[in-house]
Symmetry: C2
Subunit: 629 residues, 2 copies
């Protein structure tokens, strides 16, 4: 088993059946893990949970926003049913909707966009630390991008590639007074001008925190930091953003990265950085015009005015501010069995000169178990930390952990529950907002092993749902999910108000409307073919079960743009435009206009059809493109 | 509402709330629909179904194979939990697995494959009319393709584009003695040599049935037919395949397609066609070498020896053979409120000269309701037909329908249940096989309207699960699904035996293994870089949490092939290879080899990382590609 011995308890069912002995922890992970080996006394399989079953026709209580990991998408789940209500294509190409194929989506994605992405941390926008239902932001670790999804139409409207850094890992939002800023944590360290000059000199490698304007999606500034940035979160005052750092030893290989007992959590003073930028006290890198400030320790004599580095054991991972007031943030140790509790007001004191030792911001460091990755919260003062190696969720009381840190004899651990298996992210309902309600918690497990019928070498992940209303946690649902849900959040159903049909003035297709106007075409009524040299624009309406144009003629080699406007007005009467043997298919929902551009390179008769079942005569909803040889 | 009035009862909830009046049927659909307006007396919301709930840790009873419609994929669901266990990328590009990006998948997809597809009818292979768990076949209506999925590794291993026709709609398999043949029904009529010569002469437009060899996936023959082919099914003897035809009037527009009261069901005598092909009695079309026979009525003097055309009311849609003996096939009327029951043995009699009138093969034509689309079965002699316009499933007894057709006074209708809303396909557990068990039925509903929390203008479909063990049907689950599940089938869990890890001799990556051997590389142990002019092949292993190569160097403009072999041996310890800012990410499951080829066009340091959470030190599993300027 070699290195895999690190993956403890990979299959509890097999473990029990075979009495196999699996190692607890590999090299570099030993020591002080007593708390982590305490197992739950309740077999998860015995949970009786019918009261959480959502009957046919009943609606869910929460919207869940799930990252799709390296599927490149974002998903909306209903909670507690854990049913997938929608996939939102973001960084991927989506065959069903034509995302990545239509002109409207290409305008968002940009020219020559990659075909994939690796979404990590979906975040819904805030007003005064409550979800306001306007936007969901999501990062792409693979191609170093950040996207904004409009939550009225559930489509991305802005995607930006972040320059000067490689891999956006953490993503978080300003909470107060509202989400005016988006913070994107660059993970990999690379030469600051990555043009090939410093290939062999890792001492020249660095990464940065980036701050985006949430409305324009332009980058306001970047700040160079020590170490690889990992996860991040903001406070409840609007002043600070914090990120965990791993690889403080600046290693290039795993052994080199495993150096110190402590890396750090870094806190950025946003107004201080923006004052410097406003004063012109910044540089730029290469072709990029983004203002860059230097938040590395070496760049500051005396106290660093941009960043506070708090030593934190070991390769710290999750950074999570405790609701509802945002008094503390908890940083989960990953390679340490501890969480580090930092008080936000003390961070302010440090920046304001009231504290000297960065560690004085730490108010507790409870031992929670093996492989703590992320922490979430209920509304009763308890934290819930995911334990990757223990395959458990541990519930602990924050104030009791602080009392323990201060020397009192108090057991801060409240409960443990097995999860299946090897949990990554964890998130309780509304736990990142002022409105935390302590009802449900989702455990995003990286291995499912034997929990579902086998479906080949690629296993599902397992998103488990846990009822946290009682003293003891209760597992209520095993949810297989496609690779690889990375993070999730839940908001109340009443906190979102999506559009059921498009309005004709929707900015998502405004450029297409402008093109039609320049052609003298009224999209809502006209079915016209406009020839402009070897460019042909075909405008048509769709009303179930008819396309307004059932035949048009072009010449081989013409660049053809097809624009379809769905004039149906009843919700859910969607159409699709599918052109056979041309790789073209796209969505046209009620009152939407969609378009595609391609070169007609095959002479002959080519049928198009409606791909979205719309009517008893749906199959007859079709037409022909005639391409002259 | 205009044409949308045809969509009856689009939102039952709103209907009840608003007391709105919706039309029952539009023009061309009137008359004789009395049976269709009988509503269920049981409100679906009242169903109590906890006994069907699958508790955490419990396994499902059935594998469900779902088409993903215009998502281009196939999905595996667990039944009765209706949880999605896996997506299988087929005609789409998949960001998570690298399907469409890796060399191995491109070998299956072919050069310059489109980025999308429209999957319709998944079919699992048979031995003696029982599912044998070897393959799942699936068609692509959008780009006229057929794919075969290996059910051991759940990846497509052959994809073929069907020449001479446009749009594969129906797909079905030979059942007896085993699945040696795959039948693919061409839908759209086009000029037989579609080179631009007959653009304006629809009298030259035709379509064909295609027969593929299930092992080689080569096309054995094509048969030109009258009308547009729609759905198809085979018998239980291995001799026949049947397809429904719509647009027998050969119209180009919807009004022209709505002509006759009857179109037809066409039956092909496979041995007769293959005897003609073996005798050299065929033609070819254009560049294609596929043998083409003419099964149109006009091509035969006297009795057509290839095809039997049975007049069938009206725009008939689903064709479904009744298990377990395969005595009848039921063709669902779509624009007629009837199903047509045809006895397979009489089809044989007709071909053998024993019957004169094609309609003498019809043994019943029950009135079932408005908009019958597809029919499925239990093991107690009952048929279940989906009614699109009624938004219902109707249960009727086949032998009673035959008695009624023969003049007896008998009520063949057993039950009706509302579904939500506008059902397309329907399928009961094992209903396409000898092992039909009459337990569950899935109703694939095209509209979900108000059944789930709203998620914007694009609504989920609704796959409902119905318990059919009792006299009355019982709705037990509402399942939202992403656009657009078209068809589904369920097989017993014991009928499938997928691999949990790859074997090193898997043919899926055999070409890559051969390339390594030619380079003198042992994939299982070597971490080597081979330079061959400006081509660079980088071979590396992966064992959690390490890539065998953590640094390699190329020159700008090199064509780089990266080959990764996952030497982990524990199931579910998958890795991904993600190269930042290069649009490259792909799966490497235990014991699998995967590869990708690209041009290194950006000088600088480029990190790659493991995208599949594999270990506590997963984030540290990374390496660098150094590109010299």
């Amino acid at each position: 088993m070699s290195d895999n011995e690190n993956i403890k308890d990979l299959s509890r069912r097999k473990f029990l059946r075979n009495s196999a002995v699996t190692g607890v922890a590999g090299a570099g992970l030993a020591g002080g893990f007593g708390a982590g080996t305490m197992m739950s006394s309740r077999p998860a399989e015995a949970a009786q949970n019918n009261e959480h079953h959502v009957e046919p026709g009943e609606l869910d209580e929460y919207y869940g926003f799930w990252s799709g990991g390296h599927s490149g998408e974002v998903r909306i789940l209903g909670v507690p049913s854990m049913r997938e209500l929608l996939r939102i294509p973001v960084f991927n190409v989506d065959s069903a909707t034509g995302w990545g194929i239509t002109n409207e989506s290409k305008r968002v994605l940009g020219e020559n966009a990659p075909l994939n992405g690796d979404t990590h941390h979906p975040k819904v926008s805030y007003t005064d630390a409550s979800y306001d239902g306007r936007y969901c932001f999501i990062n792409d670790k693979l191609n170093t991008r950040v996207a904004r999804i409009r939550l009225d139409i559930m489509r991305a409207d802005k995607i930006i590639t972040i320059p000067n850094v490689q891999s956006i890992h953490g993503l978080t939002l300003q909470r107060v007074p509202s989400t005016e800023r988006v913070f994107a944590a660059g993970e990999m360290i690379v030469p600051l001008n990555n043009n090939g000059d410093y290939l062999d000199d890792p001492s020249q490698y660095w990464t940065m925190m980036s701050c985006l304007d949430a409305e324009t999606m332009e980058i306001k500034w970047q700040a160079i930091v020590d170490g690889n940035l990992d996860n991040c979160d903001t406070d409840y005052t609007g002043r600070f953003v914090a990120a965990s750092c791993y690889n403080s030893s600046r290693g290039m290989t795993l052994p080199e990265m495993m150096g110190p007992e402590r890396d750090w959590t870094v806190f950025f003073d946003v107004p201080a950085i923006e004052a410097a930028v406003a004063a012109g006290d910044y540089t730029t890198i290469g072709d990029s015009q983004v203002p860059v400030v230097d938040a590395r320790e070496q760049a500051h004599e005396g106290r660093n005015t941009f960043a506070l580095y708090v030593p934190t054991p070991r390769s710290p991972h999750g950074v999570n501010t405790m609701p509802p007031e945002g008094k503390y943030c908890v940083v989960s140790g990953k390679l340490s069995p501890t969480c580090t509790v930092i008080e936000w007001s003390r961070v302010g004191e440090w920046f304001d000169g009231g504290l000297d030792d960065p560690r004085d911001t730490v108010v507790a460091e409870p031992e929670v178990g093996l492989g703590p990755l992320h922490t979430t919260y209920d509304n009763r003062g308890n934290a819930y930390t995911s334990l990757f190696l223990d395959s458990q969720v541990v519930k602990w009381n924050v104030e009791d952990a602080i009392r323990s840190y201060n020397g009192e004899e108090v057991n801060y651990i409240r409960d443990r529950i097995d999860v299946h298996y090897n949990i990554g992210h964890i998130k309780a309902s509304l736990a990142c907002s002022r409105d935390v309600d302590g009802k449900y918690l989702t455990a995003l497990c990286k291995f499912s092993k034997d929990r579902f019928l086998p479906v080949g070498p690629m296993h599902a992940e397992n998103d488990q749902l846990i009822d946290i209303t009682g003293e003891q946690m209760k597992l209520v649902h095993d949810g297989p999910t496609y690779a690889e849900p990375h993070d999730a959040l839940m908001i109340r159903a009443d906190q979102l108000n999506p559009s059921q049909i498009y309005t004709r003035d929707d900015p998502y297709f405004a450029e297409t409307v402008a093109m039609a106007e320049a052609d003298g075409v009224t999209l809502e009524t006209d079915n016209k073919v406009i020839r402009d040299g070897n460019k042909v624009r075909v405008y048509m309406t769709s009303v179930a079960p008819n396309f307004g144009t059932t035949e048009f003629r072009v010449k081989r080699g013409d660049e053809v743009t097809i624009v379809v406007t769905n004039m149906d007005t009843i919700e859910d009467v969607s159409h699709g435009f599918a052109l056979v043997n041309h790789g073209i298919n796209f969505e046209i929902h009620p009152q939407q206009t969609s378009s595609v551009t391609f070169v007609a390179d095959k002479p002959g008769v080519h049928w198009y059809y409606c791909s979205w079942f719309c009517h008893a005569l749906h199959m007859e909803m079709s037409g022909r493109m005639l391409v002259e040889a």
